[in-house]
């Protein structure tokens, strides 16, 4: 059946692999090769979402090697994506005829047809009607090849979802290709909009948490109801979900455990814990081990008292998830080299949020100029938060009383 195999690619190109067909359907269409090869022919496919079109379509044929090996090994490598089988015709071709399709084809006609040869002359009209668009690749490493053929992907791009990041996760990309916009995605998008996420923020949210499409809508609603029951307002929940997109993918028990952990560990009032979590919702989605370790570090290694730690954390929640090494290095420099006692560090925990090299450079410049005065009791006092947070020009002008060029020259002597 060699020539049959050769005919198949051209025929398939015309239908753009746009639906699932059984072998008998394919076979029956063959004799009318010239006139019926119109795209848009399989308008609303009723599809099973299991098999890739190509695999089932070709099972009955001993096809040529061109189509053989590549797409059937779906399990092998990460890169393979099956051609989507929820495709609608990608291009508006209203002028095309959609011939009536006889769905009751049988396999009996298979061996009776006269073989068609590509060298057989055909008329001009038939030639014009053969549409030979390049075929959709059966597997690809990028979603660029499929974006024009899939309504789902098109609508996601127009929403603002970054497909170039999602295609790096092959499971996610396969999932998105198989989903139908009307059935699955729309409901979840409407749910998110109800929650309070604006249209322009949906894109960034979905780029991070594409797995939300595989969640059950009921589960999502239960989780939101749980958060509401814990006295988080709707606006707060929207903000939390925006900042930590994976929040709604956590089950109610998990969320409960985490909230309970923070309440016990930090021993803050319920309202303060709630404010903390709203400010930094990734506390609920991240791992708890670094938080436990950081609490121990602040208490035992750095020597802060419990109420001091509570104060610092309510001001700078990021300290709970900061890297232990960086925190200890910063503290070591600020306490031992700059000789700043604990109670002043507690007043300005912003030093733990800034880069160490910035603190070092500015302190050394002030020390060189003789203006490194961090004791609030004495004149010319420089507060720690201003030291780290202001930009260079303001720092040089107000605190160091020197020009930016002097600061740069000084940096080149370090």
């Amino acid at each position: 059946m060699a020539m049959l195999a050769q005919q198949i690619p051209r025929w398939l190109n015309s239908i753009k692999l746009s639906s699932f067909l059984t072998a008998m359907q394919l076979r029956k269409c063959f004799p009318r090769a010239g006139k019926t090869l119109l795209p848009g022919f399989f308008a609303q496919p009723q599809l099973s979402s299991d098999d890739c079109f190509l695999r089932s379509g070709f099972k009955t044929y001993r096809t040529s090697s061109v189509w053989n090996g590549s797409q059937f090994t779906n399990s092998s490598s990460q890169e393979i994506k099956c051609a989507p089988n929820t495709l609608l015709p990608s291009v508006n071709e209203p002028s095309q005829k959609i011939p009536s399709f006889d769905s009751e084809l049988s396999l009996e006609g298979l061996d009776d047809l006269p073989p068609l040869s590509p060298l057989q002359p055909i008329s001009e009209e038939e030639a014009v009607q053969i549409i030979a668009d390049p075929a959709l690749p059966p597997s690809s490493f990028t979603l660029r090849d499929y974006v024009d053929h899939s309504e789902t992907l098109k609508k996601l791009v127009l929403l603002g979802v970054d497909l170039s990041k999602i295609e790096k996760h092959p499971d996610a990309a396969n999932l998105l290709l198989r989903l139908d916009f009307e059935k699955d995605i729309k409901q979840i998008l409407l749910f998110l909009k109800d929650l309070g996420i604006e249209d322009n923020q949906l894109g960034t949210f979905l780029t991070k948490n594409y797995a939300i499409f595989s969640e059950d809508l009921e589960n999502l609603k239960t989780r939101v109801a749980y958060l509401l029951s814990k006295n988080f307002s709707k606006v707060d929940i929207a903000q939390m979900v925006r900042n930590a997109p994976f929040l709604l993918s956590f089950s109610v028990e998990r969320l409960d455990n985490r909230l309970g952990f923070f309440q016990k560990e930090l021993e803050l009032s319920v309202k303060k814990t709630r404010d903390l979590v709203i400010r930094l919702p990734r506390l609920l989605t991240g791992s708890l081990e670094p938080v436990k370790e950081n609490m121990k570090v602040y208490r035992l290694e750095l020597g802060f008292k419990h109420n001091e730690i509570q104060h610092m954390i309510t001001k700078i929640p990021k300290m709970l998830t900061a890297s232990k090494r960086k925190v200890t290095e910063t503290f070591d420099y600020v306490h031992n080299v700059m000789c700043i006692p604990h109670h002043i560090i507690v007043k300005f925990p912003q030093v733990f949020n800034s880069r160490l090299f910035k603190v070092k450079e500015r302190h050394l410049f002030l020390a060189y100029l003789g203006r490194a005065q961090y004791d609030p009791g004495k004149p010319n006092y420089i507060s720690l938060d201003k030291l780290v947070s202001v930009p260079d020009e303001i720092f040089c002008e107000e605190m160091a009383k020197a020009s930016v060029q002097d600061f740069e020259k000084f940096l080149k002597t370090l």
Binding site: V128, I131, D133, R144, V147, E361, L411, K412, L414
Partner: protein, 330 residues
């Protein structure tokens, strides 16, 4: 931006490496910043593509179909589908500096990496300022290493130090001649040696071509060293040996490179200047000088400039590379 930004990004430039930063982190940071700058520009993206579609022939009354070229909208070139234009840049590194040292570090981007090899083959000297501290010795010759010995240093005077420095310079001068593989009896070699061009043009151990003391305030002292084929650890070992020669001990508190070949402190870009426009300007301004110097140095013979730019032997006073009065390191 984008492609024409990339076009101006071929060549050599110098960055100032602060102490405490590994050279690899510096290279990665510079690469990230350059990529950020290059990807920030708008990319021309076609929003349509041409396809040949079947449509009715105009003016005919029958239902005849023919192919016509139509422009259909497409999302293939949409920025969210294509991704960023630049994902990596090739940046090469000149002579490395270890984590505790600081100073001028030469980097090459794109076609400038070839010039890095040329710079290496030119075997130019480098200038360092080295701060030493008398009175203790450690295992890795740095101030924060494991303490090995503590000594007194009251007997050390500036004269003794300078005598030792000239001894060092003399012995290294002999080594210089030896490793240069020239017969000093010839006229050419003699003239090269006199004008200061003589140096080994292949691998050799560390050679100090010039060393002098800029400041001496016991226990601290400041040396300026001009050397080639060195590592910073060998410079610290040098300080340690100077301490031993002075019948005391010394550790090195700071090693700072002030010149690498023809890149000086003035050309070096600070951390705040590691972004696309400043690096492009730095490459452009350094390009003619780089070309001239490399051409000079790769051409052998007497026509070459002295490889130690601007170190007149008999002028007193601190070199211009110091800038401000150097402060006590810690």
């Amino acid at each position: 931006m984008g492609l024409d930004g990339l076009a101006r990004l071929h060549g050599l430039f110098a960055a100032y490496k602060p102490p405490g930063l590994k050279w690899k982190h510096l290279r990665d940071t510079v690469e990230l910043q350059l990529l950020k700058g290059l990807n920030a520009g708008k990319r021309p993206a076609s929003e349509h593509r041409v396809r040949f579609l079947l449509g009715p022939v105009e003016g005919s009354e029958e239902k005849e179909l023919t192919l016509t070229a139509t422009s259909v909208p497409t999302l293939i070139d949409h920025p969210l589908v294509r991704g960023p234009a630049f994902t990596s840049l090739k940046i090469g590194m000149g002579h490395r500096l270890d984590a505790q040292a600081s100073g001028v570090l030469v980097l090459g981007v794109g076609r400038g990496r070839r010039l890095l090899t040329d710079m290496y083959n030119a075997h130019l000297t480098k200038d360092y300022t080295v701060h030493g501290l008398l009175g203790k010795a450690t295992d890795d010759f740095c101030e924060d290493g494991r303490l090995v010995e503590k000594t007194t240093y009251d007997h050390v005077t500036r004269e003794k130090l300078e005598r030792i420095l000239s001894l060092i310079q003399g012995s290294h001068q002999k080594a210089l001649v030896m490793y240069s593989n020239v017969d000093l009896q010839t006229q050419e070699a003699y003239e090269m040696a006199v004008s200061g061009v003589l140096r080994p043009m292949n691998k050799s151990p560390m050679l100090v071509t010039g060393i002098r003391c800029l400041q001496f305030a016991p226990p601290e002292f400041l040396l300026e060293v001009q050397c080639m084929h060195e590592t910073q650890k060998q410079l610290r070992r040098l300080v340690h040996e100077i301490g031993l020669e002075l019948k005391s001990t010394a550790v090195c508190t700071q090693v700072r490179r002030t010149r690498d070949g023809f890149f000086t402190l003035d050309d070096a870009l600070l951390r705040t200047q590691w972004d696309l426009p400043s690096i492009q300007d730095a490459i452009q301004s350094a390009a003619p000088r780089v070309a001239a110097e490399l051409e000079n140095n790769l051409r052998p013979g007497l026509g070459t400039q002295p490889f130690s730019p601007g170190w007149p032997w008999d002028s007193e006073g601190p070199s211009s590379a110091l800038g401000l009065e150097s402060h006590a390191g810690h």
